[in-house]
Symmetry: C2
Subunit: 470 residues, 2 copies
Amino acid sequence: MDAAEFRRHGHEIIDWIADYLEHADRYPVMARTRPGEIRDLIPASAPEAGEDMERIFADFQRDILPGVTHWNHPRFFAYFPANNSGPSILGELLSAGLGVNAMLWQTSPAATELEERVVSWLAQLVGIPDSFSGVIQDTASTATLCALLCAREKTTAFRTNERGAVGGDTLRIYASGEAHSSITKGARIAGFGADNVVAVGIDGDRALDPGDLAARIEADLAAGLTPCAVVATVGTTGCTAIDPVGLIGPVARRHNLWLHVDAALAGTAAILPEKRWLFNGLAHADSVVFNPHKWMFTNFDCSAYFVRDPEHLERTMAIHPEYLKTGRDREVTNYMDWGIQLGRRFRALKLWFVLRNFGARKIREMVAAHIALANDFAAWVDAAPDWERLAPVPVNTVCFRCKPAGMTNEDELAALNREILDRVNQAGVIYLTHTRLDEVFTLRLSVGQTRTTAEHVATAWTELQKAAAG
Amino acid sequence: MDAAEFRRHGHEIIDWIADYLEHADRYPVMARTRPGEIRDLIPASAPEAGEDMERIFADFQRDILPGVTHWNHPRFFAYFPANNSGPSILGELLSAGLGVNAMLWQTSPAATELEERVVSWLAQLVGIPDSFSGVIQDTASTATLCALLCAREKTTAFRTNERGAVGGDTLRIYASGEAHSSITKGARIAGFGADNVVAVGIDGDRALDPGDLAARIEADLAAGLTPCAVVATVGTTGCTAIDPVGLIGPVARRHNLWLHVDAALAGTAAILPEKRWLFNGLAHADSVVFNPHKWMFTNFDCSAYFVRDPEHLERTMAIHPEYLKTGRDREVTNYMDWGIQLGRRFRALKLWFVLRNFGARKIREMVAAHIALANDFAAWVDAAPDWERLAPVPVNTVCFRCKPAGMTNEDELAALNREILDRVNQAGVIYLTHTRLDEVFTLRLSVGQTRTTAEHVATAWTELQKAAAG
């Protein structure tokens, strides 16, 4: 592809994206294709001769697009937001064009130094203490794995890294039963074992109970086990419950445990003065993660991970083969030493574009608007006799179900709500997903896509009522 | 940013990238900025009010660009290629625009099904057996970690995932001392411990010695240790040594060890009939990784990981919280179960664009040309009395040094070659990096950027000779 072709097709794709973002609501939110339908449209082998980009892009629109679930859709209320914006897409484009590998300072000093700056901007915006140092990672799963590794090495004085876990102590991780699956996954990967993730009890709002945490730590100590890490969740995936970091911190400190705060979704909300309490007690934490790719208008992937002690992170993660040594290593940050992967994209660019083009004020306004919309929806649920809200709404997610008068059998209620979910998702106007709270089949409405407005949330409510009516 | 602005700035950035890719040779290859120089140009805090994209992009060109090391430069001969191309950048752009999370089939069926197809295309192109199933991961570091986890769980019958490593057997990993640092890093992360990575002896070409492998396994068994995995490297990072997979395989099989093949760089070369031997013996392997983002014109990140037994991979990695369950889970591939992270970008799109727009024939021609250029350079080194080649050139990388007649002191030779390296890199016309082979300070010239031609390699030789002359 020569420069002229690149320009032509590049302009065409930019124009297509501009239209797409403006009119994503023309598509059904959730793809309706059957398993294998898209695969069967794609030839079994790569072409021997090159094909024109015109044809490839036409095939994209005809064959691929119908199988896309539209995360940019303003009526996407499923899972969690994965929001996006013009400046973010342009930043990603520029990063792809530069194609730098930001593994070492020397392999692109600007990539490292811009990253240092923008993560500091983020920390200031959401109230993460100055004393923390940040790095961009791909996902909160990876960041949480890093935190568990740091905890493991702290507890074992770096012996596990060198000698392995065999013959050591049985290390225990504490998190509420509502915490994210990445904790159990990280515990498996890092050799703790899933059985050593202790499900701490929760209160009525599904937040971790610090009293139960203390009791479980004491019980483990009495049993000869070794407490190692606590993960507090600020905004659980299921119902955005907020674990009380300020009360958990002293317990963790007393037992010298690593305290990791998983604020993947809700951390963004701390940009609002009225939500700054979400991060209360962060001074007790050793590490914290939140995802600008979830709710700060930055396209996936872009997860911001902060640690109190970067030297400990480096000591846990760093390996220095000869070919990666440079004359600058003592003066600079080599971000390859701050995570799992060696290679790293230049992700700071898109975050810089977003933070500058939006500005802090606009981000605050949009995040506040999403929270207000979620609260509007919650109020409609509360006011409707046949509907029931199942959890508080501290940020952007409403947990609820249809509960017609007189229907008390839990199996019937689950079947009804599953039916409603399938019906609205198949209709394609909105897309929601579910969870279970105390085994109760629960619908979730998560507000946070860039273009979601009051009208879209109102439509969701109408669609759900229609679906419930059959 | 409204649609009109997005179009305007998008066109502008596309045009800038088109110019940049065509004229990357106008820049010094390695950035010349001092530590902190870029950081000091960036304000300490995010702006409160949004800023115009015009200004942001102007700042990028003025403040950021001088700190960029140009991986797209045709005279970038450092580390390994991270090559790039028009169709790849456009695929990444489109993927950013769609913003889908390809974690589950349902979250975008087309992302999963296109990925299944394009990894199968790749396997066919480089001769990975039909019986393997593929997935796109971010980096070979991650893929190798997955392989080590699969090995660990196979050897411990999934006990480590559940109960942790404590109290189990001491598991051993075998790889040559030339193998990549990601193996030791993976061994640390997965709880094996770095001490349990056994450095197997090498032959005169720095390839793993299967006889020594067998002897070390026997010795470990005699010592009560538990052999678990072998990593064979097809193209080591230092000097692209090729471990003999066909001879290693039977040793691994005999002891029921997991055999992972790390072909991150050199795997691409197997697209050539004359280099198909690189993957000889792959039928013995359990997993193999190679990186289209290194040498298949696909921008970072895009690493292709193949496994013989996807059910084993899923059983090792999968965790299914309620909120991620869908009605289709038994009929489809949910790629979140094939790796470390939960969230996944739609990377298949750029690979599909590249493979179709180039076509297999063009990729073969370009890879063959890179190999021929590396061999030309090797021949010049061989013919020059004051220079010495330090390793064979099976693919794209030449290891060499300046060795003036009469200079035999190793410290002096190392100082001279370090001086040459610093001189050429600072001059900015070319960029090379170094390694050590048997403690010998070694210059490396790695050919593989998309636009590198005979002229660029000739310039490298001239620059090196100039630098050696002082």
